[in-house]
């Protein structure tokens, strides 16, 4: 049929398809909700820094006990070196604040569009289901990186204002220069962002299951809390290594000299596994779904 032939090749340039990603990023980062989440994440390091400053203003030390005495990792060293506020803040936000923020963004990714009805118009544009899903995942991952960097930069600035900066004493007891310390902080931020790959994939999958953005967000954050609780129950130690949050705090091993890679690698492998499993599940679900919203 001549009509069919005329249709065979709609002209598409590869870079044009990236327009959707650009649009998605600017749409996500212009939402008040996203900005509010980032504002909360900015506030956490400031709070920790001020609290430490107040508590140590009379010359006493934080926690008083050993390295595991009280509060998040590294907190005792902040007064000596503001750079440690970066590590402390990441350790404090990784168990809940960061994954919660990612859960909100990922859970809302597809379900939120379905809820607003905009999903059907994106698909008849036609965005393409696989392309839209990849765009959503890429945007969620971008948010992971941005959110982690927001915590790190806010902590670095707060640390520099409130405390002295200088050489860094590693967990192994050796000293490294400030520049090297800064580099390690950057690596840690990247590892923390990568630790969120799993929950991002899980949230996206949940998001393809429902037409309610709120339900998807609540489910994802609920799963996060449940897994965190189960990870504390000793009787479950057989399955705990498969929880996406199990190796999260391994980023501290980057502060050893030499770096201790075992747990770091396990964490990254686990995150990749989650991305593969739940990414495929999300794809299978979304490409076969009837869009009735």
């Amino acid at each position: 049929m001549s009509q069919a032939e005329a249709l065979a090749a709609p002209r598409v340039k590869a870079v044009w398809t990236l327009g959707l990603l650009r649009s998605e990023l600017s749409t996500t980062f212009r939402r008040w909700r996203t900005l509010a989440l980032l504002a909360v994440l900015t506030g956490v390091p400031i709070l920790i820094g001020v609290a430490v400053k107040i508590e140590t203003s009379d010359g006493s030390t934080i926690g008083g006990g050993g390295p595991d005495g009280g509060g998040p990792a590294f907190i005792a060293q902040i007064t000596n070196n503001g750079l440690f506020l970066v590590f402390t803040s990441l350790a404090a936000t990784l168990p809940f604040f960061l994954p919660m923020a990612v859960g909100v963004i990922a859970g809302d990714a597809v379900a939120g569009e379905a809820n607003a009805g905009t999903l059907r118009y994106l698909l008849v544009a036609p965005a393409g289901r696989t392309r839209l899903l990849l765009t959503k995942y890429a945007t969620t991952m971008t948010f992971c990186v941005v959110a982690t960097l927001v915590v790190a930069v806010s902590a670095l600035v707060t640390g520099a204002v409130l405390f002295p900066l200088g050489d860094v004493v590693t967990i192994s007891g050796t000293r490294i220069g400030f520049a090297e310390g800064l580099w390690r902080a950057f690596l840690i931020a990247l590892v923390v962002a990568a630790s969120l790959i799993g929950i991002a994939a899980l949230g996206l999958f949940v998001s393809t299951l429902t037409n309610s953005g709120i339900a998807a967000m609540a489910t994802t954050v609920g799963l996060l809390i449940t897994v965190q609780i189960l990870d504390q129950i000793p009787q479950l130690h057989a399955v705990q290594p498969y929880f996406f949050s199990h190796h999260w705090l391994s980023f501290a091993d980057l502060m050893r000299e030499p770096v201790y890679w075992d747990d770091l690698t396990k964490n990254l492998q686990l995150q990749a596994l989650y991305a593969a499993v739940f990414g495929s599940a999300a794809w299978a679900r979304f490409t076969a779904k009837d869009i009735t919203a």
Binding site: A4, P126, R131
Partner: protein
Amino acid sequence: MATVIETRELTKRYRGGQLAVDRLSLTVPEGAVFGFLGPNGSGKTTTIRMLMGLIEPTSGAAEVLGRPMPRATRAVLPQVGALIEGPALYGFLSGRDNLLRYDSADPTADPRTRKARVDGALERVGLRAAAGKKAKAYSLGMKQRLGLAAALLQPRRLLVLDEPTNGLDPQGMREIRTLVRELADDGTTVFLSSHLLDEIEQVCSHAAVMAQGRLITQGPVAELAAGARGKLVVTTPDIIDAGRVLKECGITVLTTDGDRITAEPPPPDMDLAALNAALVTVGVRVRGFGVERASLEDAFVALTGEGFDVAG
């Protein structure tokens, strides 16, 4: 004539078991303004969603622009503009940003000319002045216009409009009709669903009628209306005398309403003037007399044996 939409035995049964569309075979010729008519709940929107590749049919096949759907969405949909079940917008974005987003979702849209396309579409639906306002501040009519603008971002071969005049005031409805006619004159095929009969009658060249998931009839509007018989209408203050005379002439009176008598049309061999003269001769004061052409509504009632507004 080439066909733009062709379905064969298209069927959709939802997971709950509800049969939304039942063996629908539809043919939309190129260049037509095709009215897709039926009460709420008759399966119009489900059909449109299957045509747009949003829903997988349970059985049967659908072709749009000569390609199978939903398999060929990537090739077909860039040439199709659609307004499905009302507009959906990002409330926190301005009208213009909404269009920019929908345009960037189309991989065949050149980003260098995006701004010009968006401005052109805004102009066409009369939203240029309100383009910078956040979409959540728009009235229903403005949202409807913005939805239409999204469907008109590119020159389209087919425009699918699902209840496009919903929520519009009479002025807005007129504008939509004018727009549809303009587009049709440019050679765009328009597929227009509605539950409003007069809307279809005013703009459509062809129509199909659905009820409870089934196709009742389809064809050119003139033929559909011709299938139903007209009515003889007499307006007079002397209702009783007039009714008697009509009966004596062998004409069945259907209804009497105030000073209006509606009756079966006289047989073709009867002279209307003679009938009128018979009325006047016995002293009936005739104020109005004539045969009214059958409307699409008459056709629908004749086909289904029930009122149009009964939902499935």
